[in-house]
Point group: C2
Chain length 81, copies 2
């Protein structure tokens, strides 16, 4: 189980980004497991990202957005940023 980023877990931008990822994943009827595999990320880390527990990096934002079939800039826009 990936430990949450102690310093940043729950930071608003991370929570909003996690919700946007979740929303896009559900719209594609993908399980968290399937998205994690497609993005090349650990499943439990992926769960933590959706809960806003991890300060996601640019490279992982690109991996997740690519797996969701959307541009990283769209994912941030959908997050409200």
């Amino acid at each position: 189980m990936a430990k949450p980023s102690p310093k940043h877990a729950g930071d608003q931008v991370l929570v909003d980004l996690g919700l946007a990822i979740r929303k896009a994943r559900l719209a594609m009827k993908l399980s968290q497991e399937a998205l994690a595999v497609d993005a090349g990320l650990d499943r439990s880390y992926m769960g933590g990202i959706e809960r806003g527990e991890h300060n996601v990096t640019a490279i992982n934002i690109l991996k997740i957005a690519t797996a969701l079939g959307i541009k990283p800039s769209k994912l941030l826009l959908d997050s409200g940023y």
Copy 2:
């Protein structure tokens, strides 16, 4: 001097993001030092980000974009993503 992310330094998305940050900073006639101060980041870390040496996190992307007066999604779009 902030050490480059050994694993990701030079990754294309980081290089492109760094170039977009630099371009936006120069358009605002800001020094690297001034942008670092405004974004609340270490100056040498900021230099490394512009050179594509650091796998920038979501929170730091937000800090930098806010300091540049643009939305994080616009910064990613300007980076080509």
